[in-house]
Symmetry: none
Subunit: 286 residues, 2 copies
């Protein structure tokens, strides 16, 4: 395990970087990270341009989507620059290796993006659905507390992913407990929201629950990636795991932020129509 | 074939880069790549500023054009920076060569831009035309599936364009099968859309089909470029092929995204008028 001593406290992306990445692995990572932040900026325009298609009381949901898009765009762009800034092409070995005196690569920018986005994404749905038995402020506070704790504990844990597997798993486990709490509250929110909602909105809310469950489950998968590709309790340092993690995080981010936000807009459109808000008529009136 | 051994797994732009590019070839590429993303940002403003000239139900087409412009602008800008960041002017040989420790050049940013844009461009027309016999959700899903698969298989294939011609052609062939499927579905969508549409809209839809066919055919041409300039089954490493590829991709991107989007806006304007939506009167009303 001299690799560990060689790089100290760092993420497995850097260890693969000692032997180096093939051009394909390095470039695929750079491309996937880039497409991630490009989607956020593109979707920002979608949320701004469609805000008037929903009744005023639902528009705060689009505003929160815009907030999420801005922060995700910026932090994922920095995350991508962290990747391309860390590794350099070595013409002798024909591989990309950690450059001399460059910053190590670390997924921390991503985590601190989630510190903004997770509470926003969880609050967002509360402005679309109507809670029947739960109290708004109670659900909001539970989402805020567990959302924030889930990210902070995961953020601390990821620093240990190669140097101290025990701490890595302990922090990851604590983070997962908060995640399970979020899942339970979200399931309740969506079930209550479906009651009395127009049929189209009910269908979209059903899709949102499925999307939420699958997309948010990808994050613990990506956290554990070095160990998923390993048959022992030592992390796999394969470049396949590195690329797989970048792809998983990007798919999860696009699903849980962009597609989730679009489905909430569609839900709010259905509810607006049922409330008597007719965007098309309003915009065509002379 | 010592060039291949010298750089291993890389795209043919880099091989030309070993002997180096003349200033003309290097600069023409830099300029063409730059004009590509500048057009996207300029057209973004067109689509935002003309959104109200069409009736509300067609506006999602303009919103999707904006989404395409934003992502294309960002990814083509990074693609251009990849070009200028890879090569450096060598005063001894008077040529541009791959710089020490620089990233290799790779067209992958372009491909991952298409991963966003292709589904959006294909969905876009479905919000303008009225399908007479096909089902909206069926066409949308076919477009999404074949569009995504076409890009992913082409993306994988392009990594092998110099190192493994067999894999390059196999992946390219698979990608082409999805492309043919898209062409068939698009022809059907446009034919159905023309039925019962006002005369002006019918004419624009006819133009859209011709543009679509020609512009999208340019992409396989650009993919095959190293071999189009070669008389054998070894890729041509000429700088003419490199510059020709940049020009072809840029012409194809501007046609298939910007001109296509403008024609769809014009189609939607004709349909809006026929639906009784009078933008000029509305905006002049006191």
């Amino acid at each position: 395990m001299y690799l560990l001593n060689a790089l100290g406290n760092a993420t497995f992306e850097n260890y693969a970087g000692i032997e180096g990445f093939t051009e394909m692995a390095y470039q695929m990572s750079a491309h996937v990270l880039t497409v991630g932040y490009a989607v956020m900026l593109a979707a920002l325009f979608y949320f701004v341009l469609t805000i008037k298609t929903v009744a005023p009381k639902y528009r705060i949901s689009s505003v929160l989507s815009v907030v999420v898009m801005v922060s995700a765009f910026l932090l994922l762009m920095i995350q991508q620059q962290n990747w391309t800034g860390a590794f350099e092409f070595n013409a002798d070995t024909q591989r990309y290796v950690l450059g001399n005196a460059n910053d190590l690569f670390n997924n921390g920018y991503r985590y601190l993006n989630w510190l903004i986005d997770v509470p926003m994404l969880l609050f967002q749905i509360l402005f679309v659905v109507t809670l029947t038995s739960s109290k708004f402020s109670s659900v909001r506070n539970q989402f805020f507390f567990s959302g924030t704790m889930m990210i902070v504990t995961g953020y601390v844990g990821q620093f240990y992913e190669v140097t101290n597997p025990t701490l890595f798993f302990v922090w990851g486990f604590i983070s997962t407990l908060f995640f399970v709490h979020i899942l339970i509250v979200m399931k309740k929110v969506i079930s209550e929201g479906q009651q009395g909602a127009p049929e189209g909105a009910q269908r979209y809310l059903g899709m949102i629950w499925k999307l939420f469950f699958v997309a948010w489950m990808l994050y613990p998968g990506a956290y554990l990636m070095p160990y998923l590709f390993s048959l022992s309790l030592e992390p796999s340092l394969s470049e396949t795991a590195v690329v797989a993690r970048h792809i998983t995080y990007t798919v999860a981010d696009v699903s849980s932020k962009v597609i989730y936000g679009i489905l909430l807009t569609l839900t709010a459109q259905e509810m607006s129509k049922a409330d008597g808000y007719d965007y098309e008529k309003m915009e065509s009136a002379i």
